[in-house]
Structures are given as structure tokens and as C-alpha cells.
Symmetry: C2
Subunit: 199 residues, 2 copies
DNA sequence: TCTTGTTATTAAACGGTGTTCAGATAATGA
DNA sequence: TCATTATCTGAACACCGTTTAATAACAAGA
């Protein structure tokens, strides 16, 4: 069978991306392969290579959707709060999402570009949106500071929170069960901010 | 050919681990495979499965060596310093090592256990040594605080520093080139500590 | 309506991966 | 010297990402 023309190119891309996320959630990250995704959307594996450049491209499209979900959750979490509380709420929103939809986030955390391949600009734009949300609150919190200082603080906070979420989701943190991940994020954000503001 | 008995089991394990690290450094992380490692040490791929349980086991042994190198560097960096300076020095030692031997660290950062497999206890012991080094300094810095508070702080700091190193090595941080990684680590550690001590 | 051209789709293959295992070979102990 | 034991290999299995020639269905024109 060939040329059925049931879906537009864009529809097929959406179907494939949705299939990636669904398979990851249902069968685990390891189960996401060109063949499994193709089977799920009812096409041959080769079809995926007319829709995406390669596997990286497909996974990045799925991960971009995950990042957008997070950006929306952070926006919501920050609404009508003081900058300090907003920053903490955004960090906790990250942790919560990463924990409750961990397969999606493992897909994001554990994805590695093929040898020599660079992360494309369009994807970086998605992740930069997150930094922008932080910088926005830091702007309100410390309007007189240099923009470069705020950029640095935003990246320091986010790298730190990212580290906690990553270790939490990939299960490398449960060394001491008494230390809860939420407490880690709270400690990291509040103490860093306190120190940063006092400096 | 079979049964040449040139090396003991332990020697062969060491050879294999060394081969993993050498191939990663020379040809890149992607080039590390059962076949390439076996070829490098002059044996058949199947041999590796008499020396290690599986690929994860082999990689973990290599990564444990990387962790031990870091622990030694941290020990050296912390010597004869005040606790605060020691903590910063240890974090910077991490960053420096991760940056200058990035293939080894990509091997560590990007390694993912097979589906359903847990990180074995003997490996966790290696990474716990790092936390212990931090807690040791925090003990000197804030001897009156509860041990659980120090455990939490050690993990918060380390998760944060880990986040920076990871993003730096895997190249996901160069969004704003003006922000240097070293400045991020310094900011993270000093401001967190300042806030933590003031609390 | 018939034909031609275009486009979506697939089957099959290629070279790679981790892993298993029966069998071959050399060292060892009796 | 012979039987046993431990070491090591070759070949296979099932999977992976990816490419490509061939095919079938649609669209357009005559």
C-alpha cells in the first residue's frame, strides 16, 4: 500500500510526537524506537524519515512539547505572587512536573545528541523561554542590578534546580531517604536568593 | 585460540575499564561498545561477559574510577582552607575536572541503566564519598546545626553544582556566552552558603 | 476517459548494537 | 598420560537507526 493521503504532513508529525510521549509513558523510555513509534501510528518506520530529519529531531520535537508544558505551569505558578515566592513556586512546579510525569522527563534528561550533532537553535529557543521567566522575576526583585548579574543568577538557580530534578527523576538521589526532594529545592532557592540579595 | 591465561581475571577487568576510558577520550563516548573495547584489549566481545555482568556493569566500573579521581582532587583542593573556601574549592575542582576531561564525564553523566536495573550499592558508595566530603566541611562550618540540616545542605549544594557541571559538559548552557561556568559555580556556592548560614 | 507525472508510502536491506552459548583449546591435577 | 577444569572464541539472535529503490494512489492535462 502506498499513498493513502489520510493525514497532512503536519498532522503526521503531531501523531508521531504524541506517539513518542505515549510510548514513553506507557512502556518506558527504552521502548521508544523508530519501529515502535511507526507501528503505533500505523506507518512503516521509513515514513518517519520523511517527517523528521532523524531520531534526534523526532525526540527534540517531543521534548520541546514537554518544555512548553513546563513553561505554562511555571507561568501559572508565578501568577500574583511576590517575586521571591514566584521564583520558589516556579522551581517547585518544575520538580512536581518532573516527578509526576517522570517518563516524559527522563526522555528529556537522558536524551543525547548523536556524535557531532549540535542542539538546533529552534530547540534552544524553547529552553531559553524558561530562563526568561526567571529573569523576569529577578528584574522585579532587583531592578537596580546589572542585567548580566540577573542573567547569571537566573542560570545559577536554574542549573541548581535542574540538578535536583534530574537526580530525583533518574533515581540517583535516594541515598538518604530522609532528605526529600522538595526540601532540597526549597533550601536551594530560598538560601541562594537570600545570599544573592544580601550581596 | 582459547585459554591463553596471560592475565588474571582482575587484570583483565582493569584492562577493560582502562580501554573504556581510553576509547571515550580518543574516539568519543559514542565509540565505546563491547566490540571496540574487546578489540582494544585483544579479546573477543564475549569475553567481556565473563568479566562483567553486562554493559552497565562495565561502564559503572569505569565511572567509579572517574568518581574516585574527583574525590582525590576534592580532598587536595580542600586541604588547609577554611570550611567556606574549602567548599568552594571542591565545587570548582569538580567543574575543572569535568571540563578538562569531558569525555570521561560525559560517559558518567550520560550513562543510563538498562530498563528496570537499579544502580548497585557498591557504586552508590563511591558517590556517597563525595557527599561525605562536603558534610565534613559543613560540620566544621556549623557544628551546632542538626546533622539532618547539614545532610540537606550538602545535597542541595552538590545537586546544584552537579547541574552546572552537567549543563556545561553536555553543552546546554552556552546560550549566553558571557556567563562563564566558573562564575556560576562561585555564585551558587557562595550565595547559598551565605543564605544558609544566615538562616 | 485515458495517460502522464507527481507524491506518499513501504519493504527490504545495511551496518551497527548488546548479549548468549555451544564448543574448542590450553593449563592443571591425578 | 589422561581426565578434568577453566578460559576463550565464533557465530548466532534480536534489536537498533537509517537509506533506497520500487510501488501504489492521487492530481492534472489532453
Amino acid at each position: 500500500m502506498a499513498r493513502r493521503n489520510q493525514h497532512s504532513r503536519e498532522e503526521l508529525q503531531d501523531l508521531a510526537v504524541a506517539a513518542v510521549l505515549e510510548i514513553a509513558e506507557r512502556d518506558g523510555v527504552h521502548a521508544v524506537s523508530a519501529r515502535s513509534v511507526a507501528r503505533q501510528i500505523g506507518y512503516a518506520p521509513g515514513m518517519l524519515y520523511h517527517l523528521f530529519e532523524n531520531r534526534d529531531d523526532l525526540i527534540l520535537h517531543a521534548n520541546a512539547r514537554t518544555l512548553d508544558t513546563l513553561a505554562a505551569a511555571m507561568d501559572k505558578a508565578a501568577a500574583k505572587k511576590t517575586p521571591e515566592k514566584a521564583l520558589l513556586a516556579m522551581a517547585l512546579a518544575y520538580l512536581q512536573l518532573a516527578q509526576q510525569e517522570s517518563p516524559r522527563w527522563r526522555l528529556l534528561f537522558e536524551h543525547v545528541m548523536a556524535e557531532g550533532a549540535e542542539v538546533p537553535a529552534w530547540y534552544q529557543a524553547h529552553s531559553e523561554r524558561l530562563f526568561a521567566l526567571l529573569e523576569q522575576q529577578l528584574q522585579l526583585l532587583a531592578p537596580t542590578r546589572a542585567p548580566s548579574a540577573r542573567q547569571l543568577a537566573a542560570r545559577a538557580i536554574w542549573s541548581g534546580v535542574h540538578g535536583v530534578c534530574l537526580l530525583a527523576v533518574t533515581g540517583k538521589l535516594d541515598v538518604v531517604s530522609s532528605v526529600r526532594e522538595k526540601a532540597l529545592v526549597e533550601s536551594l532557592v530560598t538560601h541562594y536568593l537570600a545570599g544573592w540579595l544580601a550581596a
